[in-house]
Symmetry: C2
Subunit: 132 residues, 2 copies
């Protein structure tokens, strides 16, 4: 196990092109969950997000986050990470492009609307649960 | 759209054998999320769970839940449902068997430990978000 708490047996899941399921807290503290493209750099999980969407507003209000990724080849193997998200601006949308490259092979992310502002949301896990 | 709020365009996702990602609230109100096998009967989503696990204890404390299912064939299509979970005992483990049948083809669920008690957790969605 590295100092991130991610067991070596499960690091492969974080290198896969599975979707990550992100859970945040809504305005009344209710859970919300949705899929994202993600990257893992060995210390933290990252994903790109626009400022217009709920997850951004939720995390500005309460940074607590849980992220689960399932092994696409062996669905009973998965990893859940919990902690507090950090948010940084991504004015060049470089991280959205990197995720488009990882998931589609394209050099640029094409899904934005004019005026969309992008951030990078990161989770350095405080707790890790590896199953299967 | 049926009276569940699920658009007809997205009902197929709820008939698929994708995993459902369930988000609940931990003891400090923090989000937690994990994958489950699920069924959809046209009005509510259901999954089987043991009383020993966190999701059961979380939902006994606070029934608020969010569940997201992604179309396995077209990953940008997904449906998120939110509401309050209800819990009923499943002493014969019939629903665990039904889910084993759906996901593996086997007649019986083989994953329990001796003494595990099973419940059926159900979500009749109060809010539905369909994407893609």
């Amino acid at each position: 196990m590295s100092n991130t708490g991610v067991p070596k047996t499960h690091e492969d899941i974080l290198q896969s092109t599975a979707l990550a399921f992100v859970s945040t807290l809504g305005p009344k503290g209710e859970p919300q969950t949705s899929p994202v493209w993600f990257g893992w750099d060995g210390e933290a999980l990252h994903f790109s997000h626009t400022k217009a969407r709920w997850k951004y507003r939720n995390l500005k209000r309460d940074p607590r986050i849980a992220v689960t990724v399932v092994d696409p080849a062996t669905p009973y193997r998965y990893i859940e990470m919990r902690g507090k998200a950090t948010i940084e601006d991504d004015p060049t949308k470089a991280y959205a492009d990197a995720m488009a490259k990882k998931y589609t092979g394209n050099d640029h992310f094409e899904g934005d609307q004019p005026g969309d502002e992008r951030v990078i949301i990161s989770l350095k896990p405080e707790r890790v649960y590896a199953r299967g």
